[in-house]
Symmetry: C2
DNA sequence: CGATTCACTTACCAAGTGGTAAACATTCAT
DNA sequence: ATGAATGTTTACCACTTGGTAAGTGAATCG
């Protein structure tokens, strides 16, 4: 183990075809970029630093994508795929009505704990605006549309309080993402973001949402 | 005899005095920095661009504050002062119970329309983390503490649904700030951020919050 | 009045930034 | 084996960044 302390971990011969290794390299770059974009931020992430962290040179990244902006686009697609897969998997096994909301909230909290950079990245991209924000909107549009349809059906069935489904979605989105990611605000009200306090937060959030959404 | 009608002993108070002009320059810099930090972001704002927009040179800024980070600190204090003055003024004339929440929400929406960079700046600073986030937390702590006390009292009086005041605050904070500032998400669900749609958003948000907070 | 402080500018600089050009090594197809 | 394609590196480049040093003209002061 003491062999490669200073050496920048040359990519040893990997089993598999060249195409497979290429895909694997691109996947590693995407993962590292998502991590850095989602925590440090897009502007604060330099291609040099990103490459160095992977034992590559910056030009290796620019070989796979022609520019930093193109890399961002790829990371957006990568992240959205992860998100949609996660949520679709959860919803497939979820029940109806309020159970679906609860399942999603639990899922978001799980992501917030295990992969916080993913939610941070969503925030970051929508903050950046421009093409990137348009792209993430487009990527998530099918999911959002289904969510709105679900809310509408539940209202029609009289299970959810009647209101505008789109705005209800925005409210719920903000509330959930905030409770899951607003570390600084939580700290300001005296909540250190430990795993234990997360359970409490989730429970409180669910009762908040339930009161706001479910018809009396 | 008639030479000195208004005693010039304190030239500080003259409108054209050097001290007054210095204060005015610093105020202009703070305002422009708040605008740019709150919309483009801290990293994306260069001192050169900031100074050029004011008809100054970068070194004029670095004369008043020793570094970009020090300027950020000053902008944080400046912004928090504005926020606290705004909210305190609103709350002074507000009633009790739910009326106070409604007054604050209206106030946040007014700020979101008239000075969107202010709310964007709060988001940006808490995203940056580190010393800046600690500073904004400290600046707003008295306000947050009073808000929590208010929520606690309303719960004790049986007017608000009983829950953890700190977490209720976070939920309400996220929901309000989200509805007021998540332009991209709103666009994704089909809401262009016009002044007209803002009124609708505010009404929907209030009914959402009311259902979530007020005791049945 | 002259001296000094003040607010600001011009002139720099070292350290990055994203991106280009070209050389190089490995793998694949023939 | 050989030549082409592929993935990566080294060497650069123009430009921007925050920050320093030194100077300048005007307001202020003794």
């Amino acid at each position: 183990m003491a062999a490669t302390v200073t050496a920048p971990a040359k990519p040893d011969r990997m089993p598999g075809s060249r195409a497979a290794r290429t895909r694997e390299t691109e996947h590693r770059i995407l993962t590292a970029a998502l991590e850095s974009f989602g925590t440090a931020g897009y502007d604060a992430t330099s291609l040099d630093a990103l490459a160095a962290g992977l034992g590559l040179s910056k030009q290796a990244i620019l070989y796979h994508w022609p520019s930093k902006a193109a890399l961002l686009d790829a990371v957006i697609d990568h992240a959205c795929l992860d998100l949609v897969v996660e949520f679709d998997g959860v919803l497939r096994d979820a029940g109806e009505g309020w159970d679906r909301i609860e399942a999603i909230v639990r899922s978001v909290f799980r992501v917030a704990i295990r992969r916080p950079e993913l939610l941070g990245f969503v925030r970051e991209v929508s903050r950046l605006g421009g093409d990137a924000a348009a792209r993430i909107s487009a990527d998530l549009e099918p999911f959002v549309a289904r969510a709105r349809g679900f809310l509408q059906r539940e209202m029609d069935a009289g299970r959810f309080r009647r209101c505008d489904p789109g705005l209800l979605f925005v409210s719920a989105y903000s509330t959930v993402l905030g409770a899951a990611t607003e570390v600084e605000v939580l700290r300001a009200v005296g909540f250190e973001p430990t795993a234990r306090s997360t359970v409490v937060r989730r429970r409180e959030l669910l009762s908040f949402l339930r009161a706001a959404i479910v018809a009396p």
